[in-house]
Subunit: 275 residues, 6 copies
């Protein structure tokens, strides 16, 4: 698991428990044990079980956390997702933080799943963007995969995306691609964002590996697919929703990126029962 | 500003920039400057301007960040929210992370604002819960205030909320309240979660400062208001939406808590233009 | 246990062991084991056993640490407090840091105990202040509780104390209370520091939950108790020592705060014997 | 300044301000400025002005902090020690933490000063021990110097002190010294703790650079001074107080170590006035 | 600049200055200023000027650091590389750490430069490997670029390299490529390590973007170049030195990777003169 | 083990694994296990086995790491150095970082060993300098000891070395020594760097414990040895290589310091085989 996750979990526990759980510490004896279950209150695709487990382990590593399902699984309302056993105080202290992680990540997986169902049978890939919750990038991109989506680059470091400002700073698409190619590891591809068909032409001529069609309409996309003619991958971006996804996929593009997968997912409803 | 925020901003920049922005570093000369504006693409209530500023300062403290609006302000689609000036590479590297903070926090403020409008003229307070994004507690509770809401306790450390598991562990409401009171700073109040009118009776008898009515229906709430009879504050929780908010407020309760303020807000649409 | 404690323990071990215990590393073979006892050299109230345990665990988690007493217990000179077993090098490296924690915290508990004995039979509470050793707040407030005292707020975040500068900035007690009330979680009370009986009047009128009488003499305190007349809790602060504690408590105040509990406690004498 | 100090200051501010100063944030406008003075309420030797300054800088670096005195200076009750100017909210938030540092460090300097006055005219050095507040080692040893004392080793890494357990593990003083000498940088001296005159003999024979006489009485010390006969430095330790310091110094020893310099100093009384 | 660098600089200063520079602190008054120059004592290619600057800034941000040359520049013995001005104590404390960074990074740039001169006129790229000093990856790969080399992937996260263990775990090259392709961002290429010409065939058939020829001899390489026939990039690795570099490049391969660029570079000789 | 090492290992794993090992994570099932051996590919002196073990433990603490040799041991090409067992994914992720540590540290030990062999039979000590890799000081000085060398001071905090700038700032050697002596712990010795025989005279007169002869030729060294006449230890520094080491040692000096032990060692060849 990603090392930065430990920092996020520590931040999360510090902000919730802070100088102490004054209710639990006053009432629950340290040696009292308990058991619990985490239950889905609505149909959803799970993501984040390992994170929830890590939260409880950090609170008290005597807590046993047994998943009854696995990440990526579609569960029904009422399904038991996890069973827990261990010190009651620890269960109470970790509950909210663990659920907050699990509900948000499962929310993203569930949201992504709703989009990917529209693409059944298509060869186009649904991918996420960098519009993720700061501090949560790796987790949210993992949740997208659990929902059946794919990932765009993780960040600015593992993929090249030449945008309008880069093009202008370099003095043109060809110049920008050349500058990047010179510095680049041979394992990373170059994507160029285009707003017009002329730019698509230039990007192909410059040897771009991937062409992003930014906010183009259906006719422009069709024309671009012809221009590109399999010489590069095509990504469409902007103005995409579950309603127009199927048609977009049918137009011959390779990749469809949707920021809403992460930035507009709501938490799904999961509860923890302790007894 | 909260010290933990620095850690979250560092996490966010590390996950996005990582070992370097390979596109920008190859194309944009370190001494090239630029200017930018952040613009609202839809009507929203702003929150997080200071956080966005801190992000750019961390990327390159030569960047000037001038807010044209302030947190808590309702802005219209098309309004310029911030103007920026400074090293172009820094503007490009900070853009996505700054926007991700600003869009999510403004989303929560905007969502809260939609709820609080329903309460105009009422003396009941709309409050948030602990169902926040892990790592973001202080920020999201701030955004709730910017949207016109109020805050419940920040975490487990600055307020007592005696729940069913605490009651059971203590052997009753009276016992639980007594145990907590003994350990408690004299500046913190005690809230007791109740599921039945009998429990409301017991909580009042035990001297609770606040009574939470958990998932009670309208009739139960009315009865509870009578029982409590101003001897404690009353919070209602569970099953609340924008539709039933007004009626709830009219029933005489003091506080209405809604997890959806934070856990189901979507990011609002803001863009940054660099030139 | 509080997460910040790990940071303090790491700081403490880093400052003591630094780049290595050059004496022990040169002399003691890594696989040599030993045993030890921590013994009280004077009568005292213990506090900090879990911290001492955590120190040894951090040095070498193969060390077994068995408390023979518990925090809050009054032990006599000569009593064995802890027995230890494990790698000799680890025992030698952890000894001084563990003792430094235990001696200081037990010193505070013992000092507090000497004060609370004066209050036997009284309903007034002895509380600490924010005059604690930087980095040690949670630990020292815990030690105060182990000595029979109670805690004032933990910090600036979990209780409101309106002081003279706040009153002046707000333009009066009433204005200050109103401003705070608007922003405040419903679980936190408001205390107002007063220097005159007029201010006591104003604070009551403003609805303060607690009135602090700052450096008032016995006659003023009596008058204040009458004015307040149970409408708020009363805290006295300033000029308190073990000699006048009993009389103060008899005057009808609820809370007596004493900075000396923490800022003027001396370490109690505990030794560790290794064999 | 020592880098670890930043961590301690952050810990201290986090534990005091935590999720926010709810009183000040609600009442004091961010752009309101103020001024302050820190005043000695009793005669004392100052130490820690730079630390107090660093605290305020960390809270708000717009605060101007001007020392009117310097560390090591003996000031009288009523003397102004520091004047401050800047954002009022920052002054209020930093006040308690800055004072807590300054009062404790000045307490140690003042306490040390009381001991060193007894040694006027003597060539013996008064030194501290490792019995310091965990997390505060460098600061407290600095305060000892400000009070006119000297420092023993900083920790286990910058000086060799062979104690009874080391001697036993090595199989004798000679063996212990030999083992350490082999591993040791040529810039570090070897001190051997002795409990009997026989051990003093052995330590001298082994080539120890410094001999510690642990808890020896006056006669033993005299005999030891003769045995050592300037072939090594002599440190006495144990059972030392301000009363017997002068006589000890006259006995011909070089170094007198006193744990009470740090572990039993009380905070001196300093106040901050904001206006 | 990479955020992790701050951590490395702090580690470096902590290990060198630790609890204080006891020589300088005792001798050099805090307000004494000085000037210095960093001078090349041998011909070398510079790398790390920004790092050296950051070291001095961390020690004392009043130090002015003016580079007289730039990274990537070939300088002669005797050339002044940097001039400095500021607090003398800070210059003395930062000197060794700054030089240690600059000498090692310039050593790598210089070493790389010696290799790349052999490739003048060739279209093959010289690249580094992951055999870098732990903690220094980004810095050392930067130094390689300053010496005229190129970078292989930064780490395990920004490039796929399928090695023998992966092939075996997947059950063949085709299976391995398929599994990775499914999970992979569309901006990252897939490289397959091959030890035989059969594996080269399989890798091409599986659609690998890059084929690594691991420790193949000249004849095998020639054969592989034919098989691949421009359908993928070819990297050679293993057994490469400055003597055989030219011939290798002539064989038609695209990329030549050399671990010795980083793991066997010696520090170049640079000195700092303070006056 | 040194606490700072954890930070270095975390830095190292973060820079290599970052947001995830995309090859291994896609191919190797989490529950698949494997075994491995680390083998010497050339004759070398080992150093760093505990560090390599700590790396694997941090990646996955289910990995068993069994050293077949020990640090300081001279092994032959082909010797198995470590055997490993555990989760295959963890073995693959930790391999490169663990080897990078082990190869560099063994490289230093091997290099040092080559120097110390020249000193067989001599009583002069070969010591390292502060010219180490930033972040690696404690590790590299440990490797020097494993190769048969000794350590100079660890850093600026545990030994006094008065250099030309200190002498000038103090106004002479005598003044410098006096100033330092006043502040210094009695366990730390004073070394003075000298460039002329006059300075040697002055340093002896000032009571220096150690005299460093900086870049003196053979005749000067002989003269200096006479002047010092056992009243202090003598260290020679500058212009030393394996060729002149023996003669230098014979000239009667005590300590020979060589920066090349650390700054010019190359990594030795070790490989890991996983199956």
């Amino acid at each position: 698991m990603n090392l930065a996750l430990n920092t996020l979990i520590d931040l999360a526990l510090a902000e919730d428990i802070g100088t102490g759980d004054i209710t639990t510490d006053a009432i629950v004896a340290p040696d009292k044990t308990g058991a619990g279950t985490i239950v889905a209150k609505e149909q959803c695709v799970l993501a984040g079980l390992d994170v929830a487990k890590a939260v409880f382990a950090r609170v008290d590593n005597a807590i046993e956390f047994k998943p009854a399902c696995s990440d990526g699984q579609l569960v029904a309302a009422g399904d038991t997702v996890v069973t827990l056993k261990g010190p009651l105080a620890g269960l109470l202290k970790g509950e909210r933080t663990a659920l907050n992680f699990l509900q948000r990540l499962s929310g993203i997986a569930t949201n992504t799943h709703a989009y990917t169902r529209e693409l059944t049978g298509s060869r186009a890939r649904l991918v996420d963007t960098r519009k993720t919750t700061p501090g949560w990038r790796v987790l949210e991109k993992y949740a997208v995969r659990m929902g059946g989506g794919s990932n765009h680059r993780m960040g600015l470091f593992d993929g090249v995306l030449i945008k309008d400002n880069h093009i202008e700073a370099a003095g043109g698409i060809q110049a920008a691609v050349t500058k990047v190619r010179r510095e680049l590891s041979h394992l990373i591809k170059i994507e160029v964002e285009t707003a017009t068909l002329e730019q698509v032409d230039e990007a192909i001529a410059a040897g771009a590996d991937v062409i992003m069609l930014d906010n183009m309409d259906a006719d422009q996309i069709k024309a671009a697919v012809k221009i590109v003619n399999k010489k590069a991958l095509i990504e469409v971006s902007g103005g995409i929703n579950r309603g127009n996804l199927k048609n977009l996929a049918a137009s011959g593009v390779d990749i469809i990126s949707v920021g809403a997968l992460t930035h507009s997912a709501r938490a799904v409803d999961l509860s923890m029962y302790i007894h």
